[in-house]
């Protein structure tokens, strides 16, 4: 049962509270009810603690910027990955979101640079190549780059985006690779969905 959120006399009819609820509910994964809960939780806290949160958020706006090179968020520009001399500057891994970069970094297997698109091609959402900064990526490829790893999600849109980048960079003489797809480690073949299993079969590899 859903209850009306701002029925007269309810807490959220207080304008200041209502404002906070409205702002919080704009965040991903937070519905109006959760926003109300968070707001009430903040009201119950000690003033200093809430001030700490306000300060942290304030610093976020002023202190963190997307890297002009790759789009990664950092306090420094260029970001510490782009600025790191130890990293292989001839390999660029293209990802959809910042979260994907974090996931790949967690593997400690990759030592090249990144490029964050911030989305995928999707005409039904009005997203074309310009909106996800593909021209900017192509400009980066004019520098000596040996390989581009396309790590967009294995979805219809992620695949289309990968193909677009592949087509657009054909003339640049860069090696283009795509992340392999198949069975997750430690999983059961029995429970794999048909399309994943079919793909894993068709891209099977020789045991070395």
């Amino acid at each position: 049962m859903t209850q009306p959120l701002s029925s007269p006399g309810s807490l959220s009819a207080v304008p200041i509270i209502e404002r906070a609820v409205k702002q919080l509910s704009k965040l991903p994964g937070i519905g109006p009810r959760m926003a109300q809960r968070l707001t009430l939780a903040l009201l119950k806290r000690k003033k200093e603690e809430v001030q700490e949160l306000v300060d942290a958020l304030g610093q976020l706006i002023d202190g963190v910027n997307p890297c002009p090179e790759c789009g990664n968020y950092d306090q420094q520009t260029p970001c510490r990955i782009c600025a790191d001399d130890q990293r292989d500057r001839s390999v660029i891994c293209v990802v959809e979101q910042h979260q994907d970069l974090i996931a790949i970094e967690r593997t400690s297997q990759y030592h090249g640079l990144y490029h964050i698109l911030g989305g995928v091609l999707s005409p039904i959402d009005g997203v074309g190549p310009e909106e996800i900064g593909i021209p900017k990526l192509l400009r980066r490829l004019n520098e000596p780059v040996r390989e581009v790893i396309l790590a967009t999600n294995p979805t219809i849109e992620g695949d289309a985006t990968a193909h677009y980048i592949q087509d657009a960079s054909k003339t640049l003489g860069v090696r283009i690779t795509r992340l392999a797809r198949g069975l997750p480690s430690g999983s059961d073949i029995e429970y794999a969905d048909e399309s994943t299993l079919a793909l894993a079969l068709s891209t099977r590899s020789e045991l070395k």
Partner: protein, 368 residues
């Protein structure tokens, strides 16, 4: 395959009904607007989580109620399972043995049904969309992975159409380049859907002809799928690619994808003539029944188990000869759910295994 028990709550005309169903013919007798078709629709919904009568699922909830609920115990060759569907105004949940099924497609194949309904006339002799739906639903029940393929294809068509619409306003080199990346996956998915449908229609076609021949003497009745005439997915893809190239101009003009399985037809002909254009009422009805009889046999051939047959009020419009021929053609080795207004409508020699009475939205075994 058997639906051993069925619980219905607040679904269409039925307030509450709890039924134990046996093998063989389960006959539901009742006057019009008492809930016979509601019962059939409930079983269809438990089988496919869609209704054959409406796209608006809130219409399925009994008037004045908030939720509808269906639960059925299914006995298959590979074991027993309890399926449950809960339906709210904006939400539905589907469970198998109390485990929620995340995707609609996960329900398919658990309770395979073949529905004979008065609306079937449109399948044999209506527009192409009716036949596409008929073939797609039939394949989905014997091959649930087809649903994922179909959804993927529809999404690609949607993406492509949106891009084509944008290109109507502004078509430059970069837009062409962008279209190119959707063409390849579109053609791949289109070829796969066409190939799967083609394989199904090829298995179905001789059965349709055979069953029509059993029901009437003015055949042959033939269904065919021209788009799948090249048999392999590669050949189909090559032909689709050619047709796509030829349609580029019109496509850009109209801002729509004009070729592919979402536009195809599987026309039915009778003695070489289009059934949709030239078929009489009786011929269309016989063709519709032949399609369903063939669907049931094709399902049995594919999965080795007779599907549940739902026969909703289709026999009473037939004359005695046709009716007798129909019952002779129906596979009565499995379970049949049959509705009629009157026992006499079924015709002679038909002995139901169990009779229920449907009255004002409640269903009870008939007093013997």
């Amino acid at each position: 395959m058997r639906l051993a028990s069925l619980l219905i709550r607040h679904f269409r005309l039925i307030g509450e009904a709890s039924l134990e169903l046996g093998s063989g013919m389960q006959l539901f007798l009742g006057l019009n607007a008492q809930g016979k078709t509601s019962l059939i629709e409930a079983i269809v919904f438990l089988s496919t989580s869609t209704s054959h009568r409406t796209h608006k699922e809130e219409e399925l909830i009994q008037w004045g109620e908030e939720t509808a609920y269906l639960r059925g115990r299914v006995e298959r060759l590979d074991g027993e399972e309890t399926l449950a569907c809960g339906l709210e105004k904006k939400r539905k949940s589907i469970k198998a043995d109390d485990v929620a099924l995340p995707r609609v497609g996960d329900l398919y194949g658990r309770l395979r049904t073949v529905l004979f309904a008065p609306e079937d006339m449109a399948v044999a002799a209506g527009g192409p969309a009716e036949r596409r739906r008929y073939v797609d639903m039939a394949i989905a029940q014997i091959d649930p992975s087809y649903i994922g393929l179909l959804q993927q294809y529809r999404r690609l068509v949607k993406q492509r159409n949106q891009l084509l619409k944008r290109m109507q306003l502004r078509s430059d080199n970069s837009a062409q380049k962008e279209l190119a990346v959707w063409d390849a996956p579109f053609l791949d998915a289109a070829a796969k859907v066409t190939e799967r449908r083609g394989r199904y229609v090829r298995a179905l076609a001789p059965l349709v002809t055979e069953y029509y021949g059993r029901l009437a003497d003015d055949g042959p009745c033939v269904i065919h799928y021209p788009a799948a005439e090249p048999e392999t997915a590669e050949d189909i893809r090559a032909r689709l690619a050619e047709r796509l190239e030829r349609s580029r101009g019109t496509e850009a003009e109209r801002g729509n994808t004009l070729i592919g399985p979402h536009r195809d037809d599987m026309p039915c002909t009778l003695a070489g003539k289009s059934l949709a254009q030239f078929g009489s009422q009786g011929q269309r009805r016989a063709a519709a029944l032949s399609l369903r009889l063939a669907e049931a046999r094709a399902a049995r051939d594919a999965v080795g188990e007779t599907p549940l047959l739902l026969i909703d009020d289709v026999v009473y419009e037939m004359d005695n000869t046709r009716r007798a021929r129909f019952w002779d053609s129906v596979d009565r080795t499995g379970q049949l759910i049959v509705t009629a207004a009157d026992l006499g409508h079924l015709g002679a020699r038909i002995e139901p295994a169990q009779i229920f009475e449907v009255n004002h939205g409640s269903i009870h075994p008939a007093a013997s």
